[in-house]
Symmetry: C2
Subunit: 154 residues, 2 copies
């Protein structure tokens, strides 16, 4: 019955445009899911995920310019400017004009920012726990992502 029905909801022939076979969509979804997972953990620290990334970068090495920070975090300058303003409003960082080159600004962790690090130490463990991925897979994933970032360098 219903011979030659024009199958409107096709799902007909598989296409390169099928969402379910797109690596990019998986990657995009995973990144969003991850940020969502961080949100719960980080709200105790009153940080967003990008702010947390910037703080990690500064905890590792501070007294850096915005362009240094941009290179290390891979956030562009136009993203960093307002983000740093918010971290400054929270008294987590200090920003001062570099002596010798007034274009440059030097960002460093404040006293409060340094004390926040202690609470932040627990974050990676909590996320690792929520994600629950074998170390080997995590490394593989990281490697593939880094390769991808490398290929897509602007």
């Amino acid at each position: 019955m219903t011979p030659m029905k024009k199958n409107k909801d096709q799902q007909g022939e598989p296409s390169a445009l099928d969402l379910d076979r797109q690596v990019c969509h998986s990657l995009y979804s995973a990144a969003n899911a991850l940020v969502r997972a961080y949100r719960q953990t980080l709200e105790k620290l009153d940080l967003t995920y990008p702010q947390y990334v910037v703080m990690m970068s500064l905890w590792q090495k501070d007294g850096v310019s915005i362009s240094n920070l941009s290179a290390h975090t891979r956030f562009d300058a136009g993203t960093l400017t307002p983000l740093l303003r918010r971290l400054q409003d929270k008294r987590l960082i200090d920003v001062k004009v570099a002596k010798g080159d007034e274009r440059r600004k030097i960002v460093s962790v404040s006293r409060q920012g340094r004390s926040l690090k202690k609470s932040a130490e627990k974050v990676p463990g909590q996320i690792a726990c929520a994600v629950d991925m074998p170390a080997e897979d995590a490394l593989k994933l990281k490697g593939l992502c880094e390769t991808l970032v490398g290929k897509l360098k602007r």
Copy 2:
């Protein structure tokens, strides 16, 4: 000389908070880099990456409700509402209230939306070319991302 110098730019002992060993940061960077790569390709179609994802979902199966679309694309409803309005403004989709349940809306691809599909067929190839990743790695990456999404289901 400079004995016992308080090493201010430490990089001292490695920490779990070091940016460079965080899988999440790599994933986040990769997703952003991908969207950036898509931007150039997609601007010819006057689509953003999320809009392209929605169109792919609809090309695959249309006549769906917003919550169906939300499940398939993994975008939340609050993201979809304005996004669909923009696709509607571009005359790529039609949205109508479902008969029998006036809360629900049914989204389908318009004539123009269907004709756009032909141009979009070229997109996956162009991205694949820019990314230049062996199929095996791509599959592995997709698998790991899907696992992660699964673990982090809300």
